[in-house]
């Protein structure tokens, strides 16, 4: 039955899913889960939290589907819900360990042969970036938010957003230089940034 759902337009799928149709919801999930997971994974900074955040994002989105009126693209609407869900969950996680912990061994990034190393380096550096910087850097440089939008989302001024962004870029550059140096020492292909 899922095959028939996959042939439907996005609008039809959304209506089905808003009515609680399991096939419609599953098809939307299959279509957008990599996008949702990517943003919550980067905000969360680790896999276990990311799974919880992604689930929360989907629950909120499916719950809110009847209110989706198509003013924005569905992917944009879902993305905003995912960002807000992840940021809110992150604020709540008071017992969370600090970022100075060990760097994850592996991050499940969709492979792209020519710059897989670069992506791994970036993801690792993002994971160990301090919280405040990471949120702003992800929202601005990865997700394309403006400083005004970041200010609205995080409850800070656009000036604070800019300041955090510049610090985050500089910190990333510093960490990537270290990672790149380590890679060269180990004989791995160097990243040319």
């Amino acid at each position: 039955m899922r095959e028939s759902s996959e042939g439907l337009s996005e609008g039809q799928l959304i209506r089905l899913a808003a009515d609680g149709d399991a096939r419609g919801i599953r098809t939307l999930y299959d279509r957008y889960s990599p996008r949702v997971y990517a943003v919550v994974r980067r905000i969360a900074g680790d896999d276990d939290l990311a799974q919880d955040y992604a689930q929360e994002a989907w629950i909120r989105a499916i719950r809110a589907l009847p209110t989706f009126r198509g003013d924005a693209r569905f992917s944009t609407w879902l993305h905003r819900i995912s960002v807000n869900a992840a940021l809110q969950a992150l604020r709540k996680s008071e017992t969370r360990t600090k970022r100075e912990g060990p760097v994850p061994e592996q991050i499940p990034v969709a492979p792209r042969r020519e710059d897989a190393l670069l992506q791994r380096q970036l993801e690792r550096a993002l994971d160990v970036l301090p919280h405040g910087m990471r949120r702003v850097l992800i929202l601005h440089d990865v997700e394309g938010y403006t400083h005004e939008e970041i200010g609205d989302t995080l409850g800070v001024t656009s000036g604070t957003s800019k300041s955090q962004l510049f610090k985050a870029r500089a910190k990333m550059r510093e960490m990537l230089s270290v990672l790149d140096g380590a890679a060269q020492e180990n004989g791995a292909e160097a990243w040319s940034i």
Binding site: D19, G20, D21, A22, I25, R26, Y29, S33, P34, R35, V36, Y37, A38, R41, R42, D47, D48, Q51, A54, Q55, W58, I59, I62, R63, I107, P108, V109, A110, R112, D115, L118, Q119, L122, E123, L137, D141, V142, G144, K162, L165, F166, K167, A168, R169, A170, M172, R173, E174, L176, S192, I193
Partner: protein
């Protein structure tokens, strides 16, 4: 002029520079190279790919969507006009329908399975259940209904296997997710009526089945891609109760 500091260079990635900053970058090879690296870094961040969620991520989400009533179960409930009923109430109703034999009959009739079921006639149905004069009669009716359900379902499975040659519809992980859902709604039902022995019995049965299925899933252990052991997953879910 001294080198520009890292944050200034980070600003120049996408902001207009002051005249003296531009002049310095134009003359200083080190700052020029650092700015180029920062621009490449920013461009690379904007091109990061999507990330596939871990394998098996859908099942717990589906279970939660069902437990919150966000997924409608089509068919029987809609026919009965229960589509707008909260999820846990519909799930509880489903348990009661199956235990009383009605659900099994509905499924069998929908599939066109022959009657009677393996030569065993239904010995108690909704009518006798509802007309029980006292608690003992009602308890007997429940036990009979349970027996009928088990017998009917076993026969249903037999017929499916004999027709298709495979054990149709049996997927341990799906069954675990379904039982997890049933456990959640059964617990919600028990919260509504803590002293109800029937509901408590259902909850205990469901939890027992869930644990048995968890062990089966753990023994297969080929569906979870090694990211988190099945035992860990099951243990974390079991903490609900």
């Amino acid at each position: 002029m001294e080198h520009l500091n890292a944050e200034t260079l980070a600003r120049l990635v996408d902001h207009t520079s002051e005249p003296e900053e531009s002049a310095h970058v134009a003359e200083c090879e080190a700052c020029s190279a650092e700015l180029a690296a920062l621009r490449s870094q920013t461009e690379a961040l904007g091109s990061l790919p999507e990330i596939r969620p871990p394998q098996g991520d859908w099942q717990p989400l589906e279970a939660r969507l069902r437990s919150e009533g966000l997924i409608e179960d089509a068919g029987l409930f809609r026919k009965m006009g229960l589509a707008q009923t909260p999820g846990w109430m519909r799930a509880t109703a489903a348990i009661m329908l199956f235990l009383s034999g009605t659900g099994a009959g509905a499924v069998l009739n929908a599939r066109g399975a022959p009657q009677p079921l393996g030569g065993l006639a239904m010995r108690a149905g909704p009518t006798s259940f509802a007309s029980s004069a006292n608690v003992e009669d009602a308890a007997s009716a429940v036990r009979l209904a349970e027996q009928n359900y088990v017998t009917a379902f076993a026969r249903y499975q037999e017929l499916l296997i004999s027709e298709s040659g495979i054990e149709a519809g049996f997927d341990p992980m799906s069954r675990y997710a379904a039982l997890e859902h049933m456990a959640a709604v059964s617990q919600a039902a028990v919260r509504q009526a803590p002293g109800d022995s029937f509901l408590n019995g259902v909850l205990v049965s469901v939890l027992g089945e869930r644990e048995a299925t968890a062990r089966l899933v753990a023994s297969q252990n080929d569906w979870f891609d090694g990211r988190e052991s099945t035992t860990q997953l099951v243990a974390s879910r079991s903490n609900w109760f």
